[in-house]
């Protein structure tokens, strides 16, 4: 069978996903799934930057903030501007992409730890800016009463179901675009940069342009997520975009398998499930039997920590890794054969 066909067959069960709201009438479940969808989109975007191009970004929430605030400012009573939701999806992903380039450009010469620190800084600057530009953003109160999207005259309102479908649609598009990118000239260039930047330049790859396109495309995904998430929540405020969001999305990649799209989806769904479903629901459960002093959601970060440490110990390549990453993290550690580098050094010494 054609490998492309076989690959697509794996996704057949996903065709059942649109049926979920028809079967499950519990709005809180659908609400959870829609929120999880936003995080899957974020993870898909961050995966382009970190997984494909190997650029560690610790401030990814900044682009989520930019996407959300774009919608809040351009589709609400705030300035009396009411750009339609569907237009804003495109516009905000463009705006986020531009900021991806602006924030990416100063980091081009940086690598590894240094890049991580600078992106961490950007991740802090952006929410702070929205906080302090209070004449435009209402500071800590944020912007509320955003325009409710409508489709064919049907307003979304406060039901989670339409947002569920919006997220699902955006994820499908996101997965297609991301996997197309991965298997293209640009995707190969990113991979080459990740492996050996100097050699990549000798292949005729303009590493500046390639890295900037990774930042821009990665950011554009969070622009989409930001608009959909803001519209669904009907509110944006600076505290939604703190450092912990950047860390959460990065943890999703680590858990699922960096660089591998199915892994990224599984990882982000799993962490969303723990974060927004398992912990609150189990807290409700113990409250209902009278143990009101227990709140599992307080232990969320401890739990992430435990999960990440356990992953690093037992499965550093993630739950569903790419073949490449598994090889990097497994063979490289266990292969007794000496590497090309060591061999050269040995020969250099022998000469």
């Amino acid at each position: 069978m054609n490998p492309a066909v076989r690959r697509s067959l794996r996704f057949v069960p996903l065709l059942l996903l649109p049926l979920v709201p028809l079967v499950d009438h519990n709005n809180s479940h659908i609400d959870f799934l829609a929120n999880a969808g936003a995080f899957i989109l974020l993870a898909l975007g961050l995966n382009i930057v970190v997984g494909f191009a190997g650029l560690l970004d610790l401030g990814y929430a900044a682009f989520f903030a930019i996407g959300s605030y774009s919608y809040a400012m351009l589709a609400s009573q705030q300035f009396g501007i009411h750009v339609p939701f569907w237009v804003m999806l495109f516009a905000a992903s463009g705006i986020a992409a531009i900021f991806g380039i602006l924030l990416g450009a100063p980091t081009l010469r940086l690598r590894g730890d240094y890049l991580a620190i600078v992106t961490l800084g950007f991740g802090e600057i952006v929410p702070q800016t929205f906080l302090n530009l209070s004449q435009y953003t209402n500071g800590p109160n944020g912007i509320n009463s955003l325009d409710s999207p409508s489709l064919f005259g049907h307003r979304f309102g406060f039901s989670a179901t339409p947002y569920f479908y919006v997220m699902l649609g955006l994820i499908v598009i996101g997965v297609l675009l991301a996997s197309n990118l991965q298997n293209s000239r640009l995707g190969r260039a990113w991979m080459a940069i990740r492996e050996d930047e100097l050699a990549a330049r000798h292949m005729g790859i303009n590493t500046t342009a390639a890295k900037l396109s990774a930042f821009a495309l990665g950011a554009s995904f969070s622009g989409l997520a930001g608009v959909a998430y803001a519209a669904k929540l009907d509110l944006v405020s600076p505290d939604q975009f703190q450092f912990n969001v950047s860390v959460l999305v990065l943890s999703m990649l680590v858990l699922g398998g960096m660089g591998n799209i199915p892994g990224v989806i599984v990882g982000s769904f799993a962490l969303s499930f723990i974060n927004s479903f398992l912990l609150p629901q189990s807290t409700n459960l113990v409250h209902s039997i009278g143990l009101t002093w227990i709140d599992f959601t307080d232990y969320r970060f401890m739990l992430y920590g435990v999960i990440l440490v356990a992953m690093m110990l037992f499965r550093p390549e993630g739950l569903i890794p790419s073949r490449q990453r598994r090889a990097e993290l497994r063979e490289a550690l266990t292969d007794p054969g000496i590497s090309a580098q060591e061999q050269t050094e040995y020969q250099g010494a022998a000469r």
Binding site: L177, N180, L181, N183, S184, R185, L186, G187, R188, A189, M191, A192, E195, D196, L198, A199, A200, R201, H202, M203, G204, I205, N206, T207, S213, Q324, A327, E328, S339, A340, Q341, Q343, T344, E345, Q347, R351
Partner: protein, 256 residues
């Protein structure tokens, strides 16, 4: 007009003069070598040519056009490819992907093509894949297309680096110690391969310590010591040059 020319090239790192007033020319379609003791500045010359370093002064021209201030990727697009002294393959990419990456500069797929996999993009991918397979075959690695570069044997990694460099469609190929770490049989294969590359119309400029290979292959040899050219000429002339013997071949552990 020479095909490729260095004119009074000088490179200093702080107070250290790595390359001093170096001039030489290479004729199109030839195989030339640069030899010299370790630390003579040979690899620095390659780095100057490919734009990793920019010369402190002097000019480097390919086909009468200057390469000065071009970034490395632009130098590659102009038609200069190289291999590295300590192999720098993309270790966790397949041999085929390594070679396809080398085709990057010839490919036209835009960002939109890459995002949407337009028919144009798919056709180009097929062409490039085919070309990469041919190049793997050319260097004798057709059986290793799907293996990770790092899992290839040392000699095969050297060949893969050459295939990847050829994928950039160079006019001038720079080989930095291509025979290092090869056994005598592999070296004979390499000599034949380099001749075949030249017969395709690619000019070859190599750095090598293996005198058997240098004397066998090259039409002209430039000898570098402490960043300066101390001799240039046919292998025969260089072999008998007083200064070369003194600087290089005369050493007790020198190969001759």
């Amino acid at each position: 007009m020479s095909f490729f020319k260095l004119t009074n090239v000088r490179k200093t790192f702080g107070g250290l003069v790595a390359v001093n007033d170096l001039s030489f020319a290479i004729e199109a379609g030839s195989i030339v070598a640069m030899i010299g003791p370790n630390g003579a500045g040979k690899s620095t010359v390659f780095n100057l040519i490919t734009g990793i370093y920019s010369p402190s002064s002097g000019a480097i021209d390919l086909e009468g056009r200057t390469l000065r201030s071009l970034s490395t990727d632009r130098v590659t697009a102009r038609g200069i490819a190289r291999t590295f002294q300590n192999i720098r393959l993309f270790a966790f990419m397949s041999a085929l992907d390594n070679v396809m990456t080398g085709c990057h500069a010839q490919m036209r797929a835009s960002l939109v093509d890459s995002l949407l996999h337009t028919p144009r993009q798919r056709a180009e991918e097929r062409t490039v894949r085919e070309r990469a397979r041919e190049l793997l075959k050319f260097v004798g690695l057709e059986g290793d297309a799907d293996n990770y570069a790092r899992n290839l044997s040392y000699g095969h990694q050297r060949r893969l680096e050459i295939a990847r460099a050829l994928a950039t469609d160079p006019k001038l190929l720079l080989l930095d110690e291509p025979a290092a770490g090869m056994n005598p049989r592999e070296k004979e294969g390499l000599i034949a391969l380099i001749r075949r590359i030249r017969d395709k119309g690619v000019t070859v400029f190599l750095i090598e310590h293996d005198m058997h290979l240098v004397m066998n292959l090259s039409e002209r040899v430039t000898v570098l010591d402490h960043g300066e050219k101390i001799a240039e000429g046919t292998p025969e002339a260089v072999r008998n040059d007083e200064r070369v013997i003194e600087a290089y071949l005369g050493r007790a552990d020198g190969a001759a």
